[in-house]
């Protein structure tokens, strides 16, 4: 499972949960290494130092993790429903989340990940939250996890308020993810387990 938080129009939140294997190629050693890692997730392994920009086959910059597909799906879905996005202000996170539009996009094998994946998304105002799930992952659990993560992001980063400084606090998202989605692992957490992890996350945020 990979998680992306992004603004829908143009900019993308620096991906807080880097793919293992993206930087896996040690310097000076061409591509032969790590067949396992590379073939499964390393389709967009970054180029060598000083190399040219990514080739045409790579997704457009800032559109890692099927971000482009999700953005398109979200805006089309919003257009089809004909409902304007609910305007919520800080403090109304629960309402914003309840009204959030959501869906799932199939990302075909090779575009951009080597295997077929499902991208679950939630659109809250102009923010997009995405979880990319492997074929074997439990999408019902993933949906709950995505909602939970989104609520925490909205609340702890005050994302419903104005301002761009959220980009300068991505470490909080990292810390949140490392607890609720440790090493990209979806967890079956009942409310007591979740409470315990959230307490730890809150302790980090309070620091």
């Amino acid at each position: 499972t990979r998680c992306t938080v992004g603004a829908q129009h143009g900019s993308l939140f620096p991906d807080p949960h880097r793919l293992p294997g993206r930087c896996a190629r040690p310097r000076g050693e061409p591509g032969a290494l790590l067949p396992g890692l590379r073939s499964r997730r390393g389709s967009r392994v970054r180029p060598e130092p000083g190399a040219e920009p990514r080739g045409e086959a790579s997704p457009a910059e800032g559109e890692d993790h099927g971000g482009g597909e999700v953005r398109g799906a979200a805006s089309l879905s919003r257009e089809a429903s004909g409902r304007p996005p609910v305007e919520a202000v800080p403090g109304e996170e629960a309402l914003a989340l309840q009204e959030a539009d959501g869906g799932a996009v199939r990302l075909r094998a090779g575009d951009p990940f080597p295997e077929e994946t499902s991208a679950l998304w939630l659109a809250v105002q102009s923010l997009g939250f995405t979880l990319v799930c492997e074929p074997h992952e439990n999408l019902l659990l993933a949906e709950g996890t995505l909602r939970n993560l989104t609520r925490h992001c909205l609340e702890t980063l005050h994302m419903l308020g104005p301002g761009s400084e959220v980009l300068l606090r991505s470490h909080r998202v990292d810390a949140l993810l490392s607890r609720l989605l440790p090493h990209e692992q979806l967890l079956f957490l009942n409310h007591r387990f979740a409470h315990s992890l959230e307490k730890k996350a809150a302790a980090y945020a309070a620091k």
Partner: protein, 820 residues
């Protein structure tokens, strides 16, 4: 507002110049050397992270900075661990530093540093040794040390498993299987540390252990699962959660590992067995089960399974765990999040049961009673639809073997799901994926499948952009000789279905008295008894009740106002794509009779479509293309359908409203209405076709277009002329009539502009074409050879056989026309 600010920040990060970046780096190095790292350091690191992640180039950091970031990984403040890990993951490791942590100290790393090491592991050997370390840590540590370090072990292992499953050896797998059994089945059943103490004088010894509880608050009577709650949890209870979270993936993966991992390099195996042999002997009888502090509480049932080899034993325990989860999910949870978790657990449990039954057929008979009962419990409640899908998968995979009747499952899944849950995005995604992945076996075992397309297409009609990709893959499987015609009609009316679904949702949401419910003619029509049948046909769940309906134009009229609804427009945009797929598939399976029927449908439906801007044009384009392909493949279709084709080509109105398809119809008539294509093609037929086309050509070139219509497209005029010339070349009596027409055309156009062609260049082109044909027809023998299609060649040998080569014919033609 939000995105604007973020965008400018990212742009700034991208446009930062090298000298400025250098200064920033050196400032940061100084900053990090200070004793107290404060807000400024956090802010700078965060900015560095943006700079690195916003660019498409790989940035390298100065070694000094890289070094201080590396040491920051071990900072006591987690904030700095997170930041340095995030920054370093954006860069390449310094040469010579990779693998720094892979030797002995990996397990002592904090979580964030471990993530970095994992992301920069250089080779499979590195990963293998990381795995070995992790497993050793699981083995050696039972209760001492901080809990946090152990809990992340399983997620890390699972990550490695995802990327590179083959770096686990058979021994790893055995060990992990044993550990998973311990955590899953034998976690403590009393609550962790938070139990209330008796008071100031009572020591720890007198603390009463508090049993864990079920989600409904009752005391738990069986082993611990993720659906058990307490005030706080012990370490092995946490491990239970982590184990179950990765169990399914483990079960799927280790199957492939054990099958294909004979190639694991011997060095690894050697290293591993050395490291493990200290604590373990890998005999098949399971003695390790209760070593250390893991307390086996409920082991009454496990005495027999204890004799099983580790993998089989894990399978057995996973089976029991899942059965318990299914029981527990029946309890009424106090919290909504727990109710959701129960559903997710049901999905997981059924999937795991499916997986273990796939490996061990004997389990199928044990599992089915439980699955059946679950289906019985949930099938009436569609809020459990997403749980019912894995159950359907189970029935599909094992129903035949257990000789279980699956009828009710398929009726539910292919009947009620699409009909009632078409607007459920997540279900649509999972359902269509289910079909895609099981296509072959569905076609084989579920007779309802291919008849259910009117129902399945509701997902597409409701949310076209999200699911069109699935239907691109699925549509071919829905095309059968028996349903092709109905499917074609259904696809063409997909925008109507889309509109109808919107109306259905609106009419249930808005009572008639509501102001929002009034004022829509289509909604009134939807509610009206007299049109009920039309809408019910669109909303039908199964194919077979007729290809289409008589009053289609009435329906289209009623839905006129829906043509600009976004959902309908989006749906209409997907239809051409699907039609292409439909025709490409049908051409392979259909016989001549069916193809003839399809040609009829195309001609008929070209004027019977919901009037959405551009939609008709697009559909005409698809029809034209496939009419051409069909006729090319089966030229005798043209003779078969000559009546319908001539009727279409003889209607002058079609020239103006359907020029695309009209042109193609005229072309196939001219091209394939020939004795050489079909012996049934008589002179009479050729003559009647000639006369029909001649009349139309005469009509459109002798008068102005009807009011409101544009001038006929030059292509229509030239293709009519060509078709006439072709027909005449096959029946020489007709040649004088064409020649007369063409010479008249030249005379008329010399007299100045004409009413039927406003563009002078177009007119010149038309006249030139006429003159060419006229000259050609002066030598009837040549005309026939040039204007008659060559016999289809089954084994072309153009390279060797110069006599039949087209260039030769063309050269002859050129000589003839140029000698004029």
């Amino acid at each position: 507002m939000y995105s604007h600010g973020s965008e400018s920040l990212i742009n700034q990060a991208r446009e930062i110049q090298e000298p400025e970046l250098q200064r920033f780096h050196s400032r940061l190095v100084k900053l990090l050397q200070g004793k107290e790292l404060g807000h400024e350091a956090v802010d700078s690191l965060q900015r560095l992270h943006i700079i690195l992640s916003a660019t498409k180039y790989t940035r390298t950091l100065p070694p000094e900075l890289q070094g201080s970031l590396q040491s920051l990984l071990a900072s006591p403040a987690e904030q700095f661990q997170v930041l340095s890990s995030a920054v370093l993951r954006e860069t390449l490791p310094l040469s010579g530093q990779e693998g720094n942590y892979t030797q002995e100290n990996f397990i002592q790393l904090n979580n964030h540093a471990a993530a970095l090491v994992l992301s920069q592991a250089g080779s499979r050997a590195d990963l293998s040794s990381l795995c070995a370390q992790l497993l050793r840590s699981l083995e050696s540590r039972q209760s001492d040390g901080p809990a946090a370090s152990l809990t992340h072990t399983l997620p890390i292992l699972n990550t490695v498993l995802t990327h590179s499953p083959d770096c686990l050896t058979e021994d790893h797998v055995t060990l992990m299987s044993k550990k998973l059994v311990d955590w899953l089945r034998y976690a403590s059943i009393t609550q962790g540390g938070g139990a209330p103490s008796g008071g100031f004088f009572t020591g720890t010894r007198s603390r009463q252990p508090v049993p864990i509880a079920e989600l409904d608050g009752t005391v738990s009577g069986d082993f611990f699962t993720v659906l058990c709650v307490g005030q706080s949890f012990t370490e092995d209870q946490w491990m239970n959660v982590y184990s179950f979270s990765m169990l399914r993936h483990w079960l799927i993966t280790y199957r492939s590992v054990s099958n294909g991992n004979t190639t694991a390099d011997t060095a690894n195996r050697l290293q591993l067995s050395l490291s493990l042999s200290l604590s373990h002997s890998f005999s098949n009888d399971d003695r390790s089960e209760v070593d250390g502090s893991v307390v086996s509480m409920v082991s009454a049932t496990s005495s027999s399974s204890r004799l099983l080899p580790p993998k089989e034993r894990l399978r057995e325990k996973a089976f029991q765990y899942c059965q318990r989860l299914i029981e527990q999910s029946d309890r009424k949870a106090h919290k909504k999040t727990d109710t959701d978790l129960q559903k997710a657990c049901l999905v997981e449990a059924v999937c795991i049961l499916d997986s273990v039954c796939g490996e061990d057929a004997a389990l199928v008979f044990r599992a089915f009673p439980c699955i059946k009962a679950l289906f019985g419990r949930l099938s009436s409640d569609l809020s459990f639809a997403r749980v019912l899908l894995p159950i359907a998968q189970f029935y599909l995979n094992h129903g035949e073997m257990a000789a279980v009747d699956c009828e009710s499952v398929w009726n539910l899944v292919f009947g009620r799901f699409p009909a009632e849950l078409f607007d459920h995005q997540f279900l649509a995604h999972e359902f269509l994926r289910f079909i895609r992945l099981n296509l072959e076996s569905l076609q084989l075992r579920v007779p309802q499948y291919s008849r259910s397309f009117p129902n399945l297409l509701k997902f597409l009609a409701w949310n076209s952009p999200a699911v069109v990709d699935d239907f691109v893959d699925l549509l071919p499987s829905l095309v059968t000789a028996g349903t092709a015609v109905e499917l074609l009609h259904t696809l063409l009316d997909l925008p109507c279905l889309s509109a109808t679904l919107v109306l259905q949702v609106r009419s249930t949401c808005l009572p008639i008295s509501e102001p929002g419910g009034r004022g829509l003619l289509s909604l009134d029509a939807f509610r009206s008894q007299s049109f009920r049948g039309l809408f019910l046909f669109l909303l039908r769940g199964e194919a077979g009740s007729g290809d289409t309906i008589d009053r289609l134009s009435t329906l289209h009229e009623m839905l006129t106002e829906t043509a600009d609804w976004p959902r309908v427009v989006q749906c209409a945009q997907t239809v051409p794509v699907l039609l292409h797929i439909f025709f490409n598939t049908v051409i392979a399976i259909a016989d001549q009779k069916l193809l003839a029927h399809l040609v009829q449908v195309m001609l008929e439906r070209s004027s019977l479509l919901l009037n959405i801007p551009k939609y008709n044009k697009e559909i005409h384009r698809v029809f034209s293309r496939h009419l051409l392909l069909l006729c090319k493949l089966h030229p005798s279709l043209v003779v078969d359908q000559s009546h319908e084709l001539l009727e279409f080509a003889g209607a002058t109105a079609n020239v103006y409203s359907k020029e695309e398809i009209y042109t193609h119809v005229v072309w196939v008539l001219g091209e394939y209405l020939s004795g050489s294509c079909d012996s049934r093609c008589s002179v009479m037929l050729i003559t009647s076709c000639f006369e029909t086309l001649e009349a139309v050509l005469f009509e459109i070139t002798s008068s102005a277009p009807p009011p409101g219509a544009d001038c006929p497209v030059p292509r229509v005029v030239t293709s009519l002329m060509s078709a006439l010339a072709k027909l005449a070349s096959r029946s020489h009596d007709l040649i004088p009539r064409v020649s007369l027409f063409l010479s008249k055309l030249r005379t008329v156009t010399r007299g100045g502009p004409v009413a039927w062609c406003s563009d002078e260049e177009d007119l010149v082109a038309i006249v030139t074409r006429g003159e060419e044909l006229w000259s050609l027809l002066k030598a009837p023998g040549v005309a026939q050879s040039v204007l008659t299609p060559p016999q289809p060649v089954t084994t072309p040998q153009w390279h060797g056989d110069t006599n039949v080569a087209m260039p030769l014919q063309l050269r002859a033609l050129t000589n003839l026309t140029h000698s004029q």
